[in-house]
Symmetry: C2
Subunit: 389 residues, 2 copies
């Protein structure tokens, strides 16, 4: 058995993380009030105070999901747990599951569908492209699936996929729609009910400025009705939405021990957003996104996704010819503690993935980032006629 | 859409939880250093610093699991997610799954086995009883299962089930053994390798004095070998242990975005335990358990579980005749913020479930609890000849 003596002293002293500027796709920077909330004393998972916090979260999430209809709830796992909860609860074995596939997270949701035993059909496009309304309609009308999934804001590519045409066509053929809102919730407009989304999931560590650990979900009334009529039992017990909702909202009967401090964090992050005003926050993110793109283009660099199809929260900047993106990223991390991940899959080595979210979405921070980014590129030999304002 | 105007002011101001003494089965009190750790700035989930913290956690967990062999890892979900990870990864559809069933969590693991399509066989006993070595051997030799599960420390009953005979018999017939260590890890001796446990899971919010949110696991070399040879794909992607281990330890390839602040918390909680010394901590919990039982018996009250079969962390005290346990518990909560849950299932209304863990496992705190408990009982009309020392 390991004894205390064998454990290095460094592992015993209080932890001391380095300071990072998290300009990546998430986790993004956390609001100071959220850190404070996590330091507050926990109560039990069946304490009336905890249910009060849960109720506040559900209400505040309706604001973030831009809806007055349906229900919101929170999964005790990260965004990927929300994805799995969506698939495991709504995609039954043998049913047809249609996925719009143009990035990494579309592949992940496809894989989850396969594991549930679904009959998977995919409409594939290169990473970074999007589906037109007509393409979306044609695919759905042809396939007549039981469930459709799309990724609203693809972190792997920076592309925005609107949901209106997808949802309308899906409802025509009687299908439910799952929307991945992992990179849009809290920083980009979502109008879940108006768009016609049935099941949406997200995370806490991107647009909500909270650490990772929970997955906030939205379910339309249609999805709730479908769920109450489901006759087969989901394979998952931990992510069984009927059991979870019974705990959080209906009977308040124990299901699992909810991560209290993370719920405190999420409640506080949402309160901070409500104080700013959700529309103001969306506007602030759009402004910073535009400012960043302008700065990038003035350096002579190109964006991977065409204008009008970009998400505001995560910018994919093409790596210029002859530059090794890893070296640039290492320079940024070493010199300033700036974290910017690269691309992966088909975009490995081809893009930088720059997130501008929450506390970093200010004019000063974008200027700081552009300045440092240019410095690092130049140190790697990049030359252009553009100048950062 | 909900607008900021519609949200009550109370949901916008910083949250302000009440102070509770968590004398329940968990969440238990959190060490101050752990709260501090959660307030520290997060880094990315692929940051070298994060992998350093993860490495420290894995090493410190070997100390808590009392092993030098096998591997430890952490699931990004609560204890029940660890239970589901154990079942979903090791119990294949159609295989025989034998469960020792003498409490609530044995039922939960049975339910998970059924959902995985297992051929479930149960050895049932009333809640609070345990299985003798001979009974365990006879059952396993007769059933020859593929996987065996037992609950080491049952929170619903307060009973301790040793694993040595179970593991020896299971290995005789070539079965793997899953042990629920949710209420023992960190506060009661576990000798995972010596006992012969193949798969163990726990939580953070009981014996580790950390908020809920993660599930620390132990896997024997035998379990790892089995896993690497498994030819079917688990239904779960989020809890697929091969993928998770590849992220945390092997290739460090992205799987999900780990809950950074919760990992900080767990690392700090384990460092605090290592500083005290794990054997000293076990000893402290035993001492406080004995002191509590003595106090309870001197009030003329009885313990539900016979001596020698009790867990130290969670004490089930029989509700005396004529007393409504809910009234006593409400008095404790209202007067002192003391949280003590009642029994449930067959033990509803029959026991108090008193947890004495972590920072509350001191002589002063046990005396405080006994005094207040006696006061509340007396206010409800309880009379006995005993006196609290």
């Amino acid at each position: 058995m390991s004894t205390t003596q064998e454990i290095p002293t460094a592992a015993l002293s209080p932890l001391h993380p380095p300071k990072r500027y998290l300009f990546g796709p998430g986790p993004s920077m956390v609001h100071p009030r959220v850190y404070e909330a996590m330091g507050k004393p926990i109560v039990g998972h069946l304490d009336p105070y905890f249910f009060q916090i849960m109720g506040e979260i559900e209400q505040l999430l309706k604001m973030a999901y831009g809806t007055t209809d349906g229900v919101t709830m929170v999964i005790s796992g990260t965004g990927s747990a929300g994805m799995e909860a969506s698939v495991a609860n709504f995609v039954e074995s043998g049913k047809k599951f249609a996925v719009f596939a143009n990035g990494y997270f579309c592949d992940r949701i496809s894989e989850m569908g396969k594991r549930q035993g679904a009959n998977l059909v995919r409409f594939e496009k290169p990473w970074g492209e999007t589906f037109s309304d007509q393409e979306a309609r044609d695919f759905i009308r042809r396939e007549k699936p039981d469930v459709v999934a799309f990724v609203n804001a693809e972190t792997s590519t920076g592309a925005l996929q609107p949901g209106d045409a997808i949802c309308a066509a899906a409802h025509e053929v009687g299908a439910l729609v799952i929307a991945d809102c992992v990179t849009s919730l809290g920083s980009m407009p979502i109008h879940a009910d108006k768009t016609g989304i049935d099941v949406a999931y997200s995370c806490t560590q991107k647009g909500l400025s909270c650490p990772p650990g929970l997955s906030p979900m939205f379910l339309s009334q249609r999805a709730m009705d479908w769920l109450s009529k489901r006759t087969t039992t989901p394979r998952t017990w931990y992510l069984d939405l009927k059991l979870i909702r019974d705990y959080t909202t209906v009977s308040r009967r124990y299901h699992h021990t909810a991560p209290i401090s993370m719920f405190y964090a999420l409640r506080e992050a949402l309160a901070v957003i409500a104080e700013e005003g959700i529309e103001n926050r969306w506007e602030r993110h759009l402004r910073c996104h535009k400012m960043f793109v302008k700065g990038i283009e003035s350096m002579g660099l190109r964006m991977h996704v065409p204008e009008g199809h970009r998400i505001w929260t995560l910018n994919t900047v093409c790596v210029p010819q002859g530059i090794d993106d890893a070296n640039v990223r290492t320079r940024l991390l070493d010199a300033q503690g700036i974290e910017i991940p690269g691309g992966f899959g088909p975009l490995a080595g081809k893009v930088f993935r720059v997130g501008i979210m929450g506390p970093l979405a200010t004019e000063d921070n974008v200027n700081f980032l552009l300045r440092e980014f240019k410095k690092a590129l130049q140190a790697e030999g990049y030359r252009s006629s553009g100048a950062v304002s």
